[in-house]
């Protein structure tokens, strides 16, 4: 190894940054080269001077008061702030879901507007241990009107253009949490199609956690002279459609 290469490595050697082979080669050269040994002594003196200066005791300002004062204005550590934001977003999401998918009373069936009966998929409802399972529909006599089945109403995301206020709300939410999915399931709550059972499952991510909230609402309109307690609730898939509500031509 040439003297110039050795001198370029003297500093790294003093700092212990050379490999074992490099260090051994350097030591062998130093044993034979007085000029490089003089350079090594100079490097050692310079490094001692640098360390001496950088390690001099020095006065330092106590910034405890100003920093703590600024921190108290923040009040909450960041993690608690995130929790607050997350909580507010959860509440906002639930309220938004309920508002957008609030149950509406079915229109009075007519011949041209037959009642719609939908079936619910197997679904476990959070907060309720029971499992709603689809049941086999009762046998419907041939003289009964044909039942029209529609697929379960599901939303992956709410329609952003459905209501004027929703895009702004969603945009505000997306800046803090990520809304993963809103699933809405509507099934008839009553044999006659007067009520509606709405299940809203909202899934979102807050700080890497996936959270889900399911809320179920059942709305059954009660007519003035009707005894609500006497309403019989058949199995969900059992459909009996009064003849007068059937499709045209079958009544």
């Amino acid at each position: 190894m040439k003297c110039e290469e050795i001198r370029n490595q003297l500093s790294a050697h003093e700092c212990g940054d050379l490999s074992a082979d490099e260090s051994r080669e350097l030591q062998e050269h130093l044993a034979e080269c007085p000029t490089c040994r003089a350079h090594l002594a100079a490097v050692q003196a310079l490094q001692a001077g640098i360390r001496g200066y950088l390690r001099e005791p020095m006065e330092y300002p106590d910034v405890t008061g100003p920093v703590m004062s600024l921190l108290r204005k923040n009040k909450k550590p960041a993690r608690l702030v995130y929790a607050w934001v997350g909580g507010i977003c959860v509440a906002a999401t639930i309220i938004m879901g309920l508002y957008l998918h609030r149950p509406s009373l079915p229109a009075k069936p007519t011949a041209s507007n037959p009642p719609v009966v939908t079936t619910a998929p197997e679904k476990r409802i959070v907060g309720s241990p029971r499992v709603v399972r689809p049941q086999k529909p009762a046998v419907i006599p041939k003289d009964q009107p044909r039942v029209r089945r529609l697929p379960t109403h599901k939303h992956k995301r709410p329609d952003a253009n459905a209501r004027g206020a929703e895009p702004a709300v969603e945009q505000a939410l997306s800046s803090t949490i990520r809304l993963v999915n809103i699933e809405v399931t509507r099934i008839p709550a009553d044999l006659s199609g007067k009520g509606e059972r709405t299940s809203i499952t909202t899934t979102f991510m807050v700080s890497g956690l996936t959270l889900s909230h399911t809320e179920e609402r059942i709305v059954i309109p009660v007519e003035p002279n009707e005894d609500a307690g006497s309403i019989e609730r058949p199995p969900l898939e059992t459909v009996v459609v009064p003849k007068q509500y059937g499709p045209p031509g079958e009544g």
């Binding site: 940054d17 006065e59 330092y60 106590d62």
Partner: protein
């Protein structure tokens, strides 16, 4: 003014204090401040060069540390994490300098032996010489000799290659020797 910490505070680990701060005990952050503000100021002062700038940088550093505490991973000691934040704060406060070609070794530098000043170095001159170095060389010298980091550790901290740091340190020392020589000649 020197900050004093109680002996009781020293019995509590950094991790315990961080957990308490994250749990809502904001005032416990004071213990971390008192533990690390001296080292932070020393680093900031050496990089920035003035007392006031160093003080401002320390305040900003600890505000950032506080904000970043939820993301702190308890994998090592706290000081390297604070030092990295402090270094970034200081570098942002410095005017940007053109990036030199560090592999270009054509800069005139003093022969360490020829300077003949290294045996009678005055610390004040070392301070002036370090303060006159370009930022990247000054920073390399500070973290190497004040923080006693190896070239590999410096490379990791600054996001550079180990070879680059070795060359940078070597050149920084040669530039220091040159500046010391000039300073000593001026005195004479």
């Amino acid at each position: 003014m020197r900050a004093q910490s109680t002996s009781g505070d020293n019995l509590v680990s950094d991790e315990q204090i961080i957990c308490r701060v994250l749990g809502g005990h904001t005032d416990d952050f004071r213990v971390l401040l008192q533990r690390y503000q001296e080292r932070t100021f020393r680093l900031a002062y050496r990089i920035l060069g003035t007392y006031d700038d160093g003080q401002d940088a320390v305040q900003e550093t600890f505000l950032r540390v506080y904000q970043a505490l939820p993301g702190y991973r308890h994998e090592g000691k706290l000081w390297p994490w604070i030092r990295r934040i402090a270094t970034n704060v200081c570098l942002k406060r410095l005017p940007s300098e053109p990036k030199p070609d560090e592999l270009d070794d054509s800069i005139e530098s003093a022969d360490l032996v020829e300077t003949q000043v290294l045996g009678r170095i005055e610390l004040a001159n070392v301070g002036k010489a370090i303060g006159g170095l370009p930022t990247r060389y000054r920073l390399a010298i500070i973290v190497r000799y004040q923080e006693e980091l190896t070239c590999r550790e410096i490379a990791e901290e600054l996001g550079e290659k180990v070879t680059t740091i070795k060359v940078r340190l070597h050149r920084a020392e040669r530039m220091l020797a040159e500046r010391l020589k000039v300073l000593m000649n001026d005195e004479v």
